[in-house]
């Protein structure tokens, strides 16, 4: 725990004015096209009619490590992609100040990431269009292309993996509801974590 805690976290950004219009549940999810760490062009439109999860990440952030160190995020990715959900992991940053595609692919490989694709949001335009504030910051998009959930992954705003089993995971709840054709109960919760590095 302590060794891990010594590692730095590239996190908060430098953009002074970011009162971008927040994406609200019920809004149409902003379209985007990004390049994956494998060099593929990935558009949200490619997955029209599917449930899509957007996960903002930063491997150095202690709040992200909380979910990767014990395999919790990877398990969510595996479980839900297995049910036909598309899971896109996105890292926002300025070129030269965040991992290269090769490095991000390597970090994902090492962590055993099971996302559909890992994308780089160079310059932060996509992050801004969703008003992604923290890592992690989660968005669940329904088959209708509308945002069904936006916010923190759960209700335990800490860096301690031991809090995960007792937490209320809003992404799991939203995905299970959507997969069952039910209404999502909690559509919005406060995001917590390191700041996205714009």
């Amino acid at each position: 725990m302590k060794m891990k805690s010594l590692m730095g976290c590239l996190a908060a950004g430098f953009v002074a004015l970011s009162s971008a219009l927040a994406v609200e549940p019920g809004d149409t999810a902003p379209a985007f096209t990004l390049t994956s760490v494998k060099g593929e062009s990935v558009s949200l439109a490619d997955y029209a009619g599917k449930i899509v999860v957007l996960e903002w990440t930063n491997h150095d952030c202690p709040f992200v490590k909380k979910f990767y160190s014990g395999g919790d995020m990877q398990k969510l990715q595996e479980t839900y992609t297995g049910k036909g959900v598309v899971w896109l992991t996105i890292q926002t940053g300025q070129e030269g100040k965040f991992p290269t595609a090769e490095k991000l692919a390597e970090l994902t490989e090492k962590a055993g990431g099971k996302a559909t694709a890992v994308l780089r949001d160079v310059g932060g335009a996509v992050g801004k269009s969703y008003d992604a504030k923290t890592t992690p910051h989660m968005f669940v998009i329904g088959k209708d292309g509308k945002v069904a959930y936006a916010g923190g992954i759960d209700d335990k705003k800490d860096t301690n993996p031991e809090s995960i089993p007792g937490a209320k995971n809003f992404v799991v709840a939203a995905l299970d509801a959507l997969l069952a054709g039910k209404a999502v109960e909690v559509t919005k919760a406060e995001p917590y974590g390191c700041g996205v590095k714009y």
Binding site: S5, T134, D158, Y198
Partner: protein, 266 residues
């Protein structure tokens, strides 16, 4: 220069100096205001945190993207710990996320009450966890701190003055000072009534309760006789109507930081 300072610190620390625990971007230790404890008599201790230059840690209301300091006690049977008291924080922005917290050194005072019986040497321990951030990174820290104390009359320690000074910076409620919050169309109308002798001109208003008030803009209060009002934006992620708020007023013409509490009538 740094070496001289280190040697000087060692000399000043003398035999009493216990090295703090270093983790992440801070060094923490547990200090006591008295060299011994007496059964049944509250004892003031403090969690002292020395934060590396350029980094900050967080208040009870960390703002966006931070995390409050957590303290979990491991005390001898019969001992009880009061709340962890937080001195007035500073406000800052981490990148573009507003927050409240501490830079440099902070001491969080806590009153511990030994059980009514017993004596002898005791070991007090606390598990402390925190998050420090600067503009480009966040690093967590955690440490288990301990302090051994003998039973007896004891004497004030050299650290007693430091803990007292921190306690003076902990906002306190005051008779005749009250807060009312009304909600209208996504805005919160805060009305503070203060005793006539208090002048809150120039004071900073800081919500100690997280996720109630939006922090993007500093709170601007207007005086009307003994009442001070401010209209603020409700926090984006406030869950339902506001039901409780603790508000700190500090600085300006106030002599000491003031704590105002409001709870909605059931």
């Amino acid at each position: 220069m740094q070496k001289t300072a280190a040697i000087l610190a060692m000399m000043l620390g003398g035999g009493l100096c216990l090295a703090g625990e270093r983790s992440g971007k801070a060094e923490v230790d547990l200090i006591s205001s008295a060299s011994a404890y007496q059964a049944g008599h509250p004892l003031m201790v403090g969690v002292r945190m020395k934060i590396d230059p350029g980094w900050h840690t967080y208040w009870t209301n960390p703002g966006e993207g931070g995390m409050p300091i957590s303290v979990k006690w491991k005390l001898p049977e019969g001992w009880e710990a009061g709340p962890v008291l937080h001195p007035v924080p500073i406000s800052f922005k981490t990148g573009d996320l507003p927050g409240y917290g501490y830079e440099g050194q902070v001491i969080l005072p806590v009153f511990l009450t030994p059980g009514p019986e017993g004596g002898g040497k005791v070991s007090l321990a606390a598990e402390v966890a925190w998050l420090t951030c600067d503009d480009s990174a966040c690093v967590p820290g955690d440490a288990t701190l301990s302090l051994d104390l003998d039973a007896g009359a004891g004497e004030p320690t050299p650290e007693a003055v430091e803990i007292e000074a921190a306690l003076d910076r902990v906002p306190q409620p005051m008779d005749g000072a009250s807060l009312v919050v009304k909600e209208e169309a996504g805005k919160l109308l805060l009305t503070a009534r203060l005793p006539a002798e208090l002048d809150a001109s120039g004071a900073s208003w800081m919500p100690a309760t997280p996720s109630v008030v939006d922090l993007a803009e500093p709170i601007q209060a207007v005086r009307d006789g003994d009442s001070w009002t401010a209209t603020v934006k409700k926090h984006e992620y406030a869950s339902g109507p506001a039901t409780a708020l603790e508000l700190v007023l500090s600085g300006g013409k106030l002599q000491a930081p003031l704590l105002l509490s409001w709870e909605k009538d059931p």
